[in-house]
């Protein structure tokens, strides 16, 4: 069980530590968007499989970067229209990952009780 490796090499597709770095960066960017409550694993099946092999000592990013495209799964609140939040999320992801295709899954919408 190794700690997350900081790599100064350029990120390559399939380069696991670098993809993780990018995933964590996307996670951070996404959480900063107004209306986002939390992240879910973008690919829970893969995550579980990995955890079984590697043990669950190492933290994994929630967001997934696969074949050059970014996938996130989020919980948001209903203060803003969902489409607007998704547009903002797309913009923030691209700030971090470049002009990649983005998939956003909204897995939960919390109702603001005010």
């Amino acid at each position: 069980m190794s700690d997350r490796i900081s790599s100064s090499a350029p990120a390559e597709d399939g380069d696991a530590p670098a993809a993780d770095e990018l995933g964590f960066a996307i996670d951070a960017a996404v959480l900063a968007v107004p209306g986002v409550q939390r992240l879910f694993p973008a690919d829970p099946a893969a995550l579980r499989a990995l955890q079984q092999v590697a043990g669950d000592g190492a933290a994994r990013p929630a967001s997934a970067v696969r074949s050059g495209s970014a996938t996130i799964s989020v919980a948001i609140d209903d203060a803003l229209p969902t489409r607007e939040v998704c547009d903002e999320l797309t913009a923030r992801v691209r700030e971090v990952a470049g002009p990649v295709p983005v998939e956003i899954r909204v897995s939960r919408i919390h109702v603001d009780r005010l």
Binding site: P44, D78, T82, C86, I104, I109
Partner: protein, 211 residues
């Protein structure tokens, strides 16, 4: 009371012909169908009563234990909820149309159903029960909600408020446009002023309109 010591005597308890095991099973059957030889025998009846009291006392013991348990830690509950897989209930992905080639936005069916539940709950006096969501074509939906209304409240304004809020929530937060929203009121509940204990509340008080 010495019946317990008589349980191995040849004539059974009190000479009834029934031993402790038979009486124990009779007690567990609720003493039906009635057996005259037992019900008419004072020692048997005393033993049956003791068995019943013992059961009641045991339930008191567990109830007492239960009440003395500390409330579950909120972190523990959160960890429990995290462990529960959401994918099981996520349902289909409902995509937003027209997001371009390089972006795809979806809302899960599970998220929409939970949104409708919470939207309905947010109406004062309403509690959502069942949510029915039928997607007619890609962006049109038929919604059926059953709700419980707080006792003593007028039904129409609450149903109307739920309908309005559900429509607004769908339009604002999902790709779906509601074709039809049916609200069914199928229960009444007592709205307690504040939750002071954890006992399960009853539903309608006697005398209020049940359905």
């Amino acid at each position: 009371m010495t019946s317990a010591n008589d349980t191995t005597s040849p004539g059974g308890v009190g000479g009834s012909g029934y031993d402790l095991e038979a009486l124990s099973a009779y007690a567990d059957r609720g003493r039906t169908p009635a057996i005259a030889a037992i019900d008419g025998n004072p020692e048997c009846v005393a033993l049956l009563d003791s068995i019943d009291r013992l059961g009641a006392l045991t339930r008191d013991l567990v109830a007492d234990d239960a009440a003395a348990q500390p409330a579950p830690d909120e972190n523990w509950i959160r960890a429990l909820l995290d462990t529960i897989s959401r994918e099981v209930r996520a349902g289909r992905d409902i995509p937003f149309p027209d997001t371009g080639e390089d972006a795809r936005y979806v809302v899960t069916e599970g998220a929409i159903r939970q949104l409708l539940r919470e939207t309905g709950d947010a109406v004062d006096g309403a509690l959502v029960g069942r949510v029915g969501l039928r997607i007619v074509d890609e962006t049109r939906a038929e919604v059926e909600l059953s709700i419980s209304v707080a006792a003593g409240r007028r039904l129409d304004p609450i149903a109307a408020a739920v309908r309005d809020r559900v429509a607004a929530a769908l339009r604002r937060s999902t790709p779906l446009e509601p074709d039809r929203i049916d609200i069914t009121i199928d229960d009444v509940h007592v709205a307690a002023p504040a939750a002071t204990d954890t006992a399960a509340p009853t539903t309608a008080e006697p005398g209020s309109e049940p359905r």
